[in-house]
């Protein structure tokens, strides 16, 4: 955990303050990680050097906390031969394979502090299960709130959202659906699962009505649902003219509908055409997975920007050593925003990490997720890491 327990004390108790301070209490609940996630000024306006500096300090703090609170990770860390937490390079912090979450309960907080165990959608076998406490959930929401500015600066009253998924009452513990349903805490929302023609008719009508009633419409959902909606509207002869007044936000990938996947530029063009958008830049994607606590948003140049509290590296699948910027590798993340479990993970996604100035003009680190890992040897590497951990 990276945050100290909030404290509250009379001034006199701590500092022996003068009588003039009688009746004054100081409440200090500040933490570095929350100070950054919930800062007034967005993190993506920070210079790259400052982002690196902040990130390193926060991740090191998170490492110390998880080593102190998660015996399983501490044991794994010690057996890995990594240097002391103060000296270890970020690239050498022992990583937990996301496969570990399929069979082990890893947590750094007491059971009563766990709000809920969330699971992956399990489209590729056994689902992962990941705990989250209040601070982790609030920071996840903060990662969304703090990155929405990469899309636009909306007032909550101006925006209506159609969530192409189940509403709050029906999401249960599937992380992707849960995160999507939380958008209703930020904006006026309607949730609809486009499961059949009747539902698609209703969603199409709803989109038209909301465009008439609100200044801006956001449609959010997995790409296959968005494509379903666009194809349905085309069949029905529905052509929206949203101009600049709509944003289409995809998340979650194609999952078991991978056979329908189309190249991203083609997808964006099709969606922009059907909604009558002024620009394909209004079709954006976000990335998250159940084992990662931070949501990564695309900028207008369609680059996914990584906040400074997350250290990301693409790694060689055999050696797990980081590859250079711009080279393909297995994606790994050190996410300091998670207090519930050590979010130091290596995934089975292949991607590219870039750093420096983006085409959008902002400085920072970006990721591009290319595909799932296919090499049997590489998967074996990830599995081996899981076995190491399981023995702990």
């Amino acid at each position: 955990m990276t945050h100290a327990a909030p404290t509250s004390h009379p001034v006199g108790e701590e500092s022996g303050a003068a009588a003039a301070d009688a009746g004054v209490r100081i409440i200090d609940a500040r933490t570095a990680i929350d100070g950054l996630i919930f800062a007034e000024d967005p993190w993506y306006e920070l210079p790259l050097d400052r982002q690196r500096e902040l990130g390193e300090a926060l991740i090191r703090q998170a490492l110390r906390e998880h080593l102190a609170r998660c015996p399983a990770y501490r044991d794994y860390y010690e057996r890995s031969g990594a240097a002391e937490p103060e000296a270890v390079a970020l690239a050498d912090i022992p990583l937990v394979s996301t496969r570990v979450f399929k069979f082990a309960d890893l947590r750094s907080v007491e059971p009563e502090a766990v709000e809920r165990w969330y699971r992956s959608s399990g489209t590729s076998g056994q689902p992962s299960r990941v705990p989250r406490d209040r601070a982790s959930l609030e920071r996840m929401v903060g990662s969304v709130h703090g990155s929405v500015g990469l899309l636009a600066d909306w007032d909550e009253d101006e925006v209506a959202v159609i969530n192409l998924g189940p509403g709050r009452e029906r999401v249960e513990d599937v992380w992707f659906q849960y995160v999507m349903s939380l958008i209703e805490a930020l904006y006026w929302s309607e949730s609809r699962v486009p499961r059949d023609e009747a539902a698609l008719d209703e969603i199409s009508s709803l989109a038209q009505a909301l465009l008439a009633d609100y200044e801006h419409l956001i449609v959010v959902g997995p790409p296959f649902h968005v494509l379903d909606l666009c194809e349905h509207m085309e069949r029905r002869g529905v052509q929206l003219q949203a101009g600049e007044r709509a944003t289409i936000l995809t998340a979650g990938g194609w999952k078991r509908f991978g056979g329908r996947a189309i190249p991203k530029p083609q997808f964006r063009a099709a969606v922009a055409r059907r909604f009558g958008l002024a620009s394909e830049a209004q079709v954006r994607d976000v990335f998250n997975q159940v084992e990662l606590n931070t949501v990564l948003f695309e900028c207008e140049a369609h680059e996914k920007h990584v906040p400074p509290w997350v250290h990301v590296a693409a790694r060689d699948p055999e050696t797990l050593q980081p590859v250079g910027f711009g080279e393909e590798g297995m994606m790994s993340y050190l996410d300091a925003s998670c207090s519930a479990y050590p979010c130091f993970i290596v995934t089975e996604d292949v991607g590219i990490v870039r750093q420096g100035r983006c085409a959008c003009g902002r400085e920072g680190t970006r990721v591009e997720i290319l595909r799932r890992l296919e090499s049997r040897a590489a998967k074996g590497c990830a599995l081996k890491m899981g076995q190491i951990h399981a023995k702990g």
């Binding site: 909030p6 108790e13 004054v24 409440i27 500040r30 929350d34 100070g35 299960r129 959930l137 007032d155």
Partner: protein, 318 residues
């Protein structure tokens, strides 16, 4: 390792909320929400929450949840000429409209709900109104303010970057824009502020000198709009042991921005209300406010709070 699962159906809502409409003789209406604990235990007390300028009733969902979880009945209202469902437009808001709304709700609570005495929690601009109301109405048992305005003119000057109150009426711009979005008509607001004595900081001090109720004022140490020293001057802590200031490190005027700080504040605020509820009316003494406030008995979880925020957002109209 044991697996401690919670499903959505098992997530308890912290609060049950009902809506009432106060209909005024002139046809206008004030919408009031009444939230109460889920448990059948006897109530600890009743509290009225007044929203900050531009604030919605559902923006006070977490405060209501904390108080209800610890045994309080909570009323919230949307003032006239405000942003929520009550009559009127935000552009026409004046301090006296805010005062009239608070008075109407307090009268309604006594008349319709039998709530003769209660605590008031007021945020930001509504705190300035609450200071005056509390100095004039004996049935308010205690007052808690959060980033409460004490020097209206100074705060508005910081918010808008210009001291419009110094301008002759003819030179006022027709409207000013609050938080980049909300247009407020200046002439009505400024005229009311001048004529009804809302402007001078000294007026707040005079009103508070008349008040005998206990007051706990939360201030944010990085607040650009309400300065620590202004609140200290108004509260005159050295001569009023029944008053307390709680200073939140690291927060600006928006107390909800950082949830760690918001959580610490809500714990302290709920503890303060629990302590204040135990003060005997008319016998407020130095000892009446303990050095520290009691710990919470129950704290709403993230799941409870988001469930409530979403439910209340759905209840709200645009």
């Amino acid at each position: 390792m044991p697996r401690d699962e919670k499903s959505e159906s098992e997530i308890p809502a912290a609060v049950t909320t009902e809506e009432s409409v106060l209909r005024l003789d002139d046809g206008r209406q004030i919408v009031i929400w009444h939230s109460r604990p889920q448990s059948e235990a006897p109530l600890r007390g009743t509290v009225l929450l007044a929203p900050g300028f531009c604030g919605r009733m559902y923006s006070l969902a977490a405060t209501a949840a904390y108080l209800c979880a610890n045994g309080f009945a909570v009323y919230r209202y949307d003032p006239l000429d405000h942003r929520g469902p009550s009559s009127g437009e935000l552009a026409d808001f004046t301090m006296s409209t805010g005062r009239f709304s608070m008075d109407q709700v307090l009268d309604w609570l006594a008349r319709e709900r039998g709530v003769e005495s209660l605590g008031v929690i007021a945020t930001s601009l509504s705190a300035r109104i609450a200071y005056r109301v509390a100095s004039e109405r004996a049935k308010i048992r205690y007052l808690v303010t959060a980033v409460g305005v004490t020097d209206l003119r100074a705060t508005l000057t910081r918010v808008f970057g210009v001291d419009h109150m110094a301008s002759p009426p003819a030179e006022l711009p027709p409207t000013v824009v609050f938080e980049d979005r909300h247009h407020i008509r200046t002439l009505g607001f400024a005229t009311d502020a001048h004529e009804r004595g809302w402007n001078p900081a000294a007026t707040t001090r005079v009103e508070l000198d008349r008040a005998t109720l206990p007051i706990v004022a939360f201030i944010a140490r990085d607040d650009d709009w309400v300065l620590e020293r202004e609140v200290e001057e108004a509260l005159d802590l050295a001569n009023h042991p029944e008053r307390r200031m709680c200073k939140l490190e690291g927060s600006g005027h928006n107390l909800a921005k950082n949830p760690r700080i918001a959580q610490a504040m809500l714990r302290e605020l709920t503890g303060a209300v629990m302590a204040l509820e135990n003060c005997t009316s008319g016998e407020v003494q130095r000892a009446a406010l303990p050095p520290s406030f009691p710990a919470l008995e129950r704290e709403p979880t993230f799941e409870m709070l988001t469930t409530q925020v979403i439910a209340e957002r759905r209840r709200s109209t645009r």
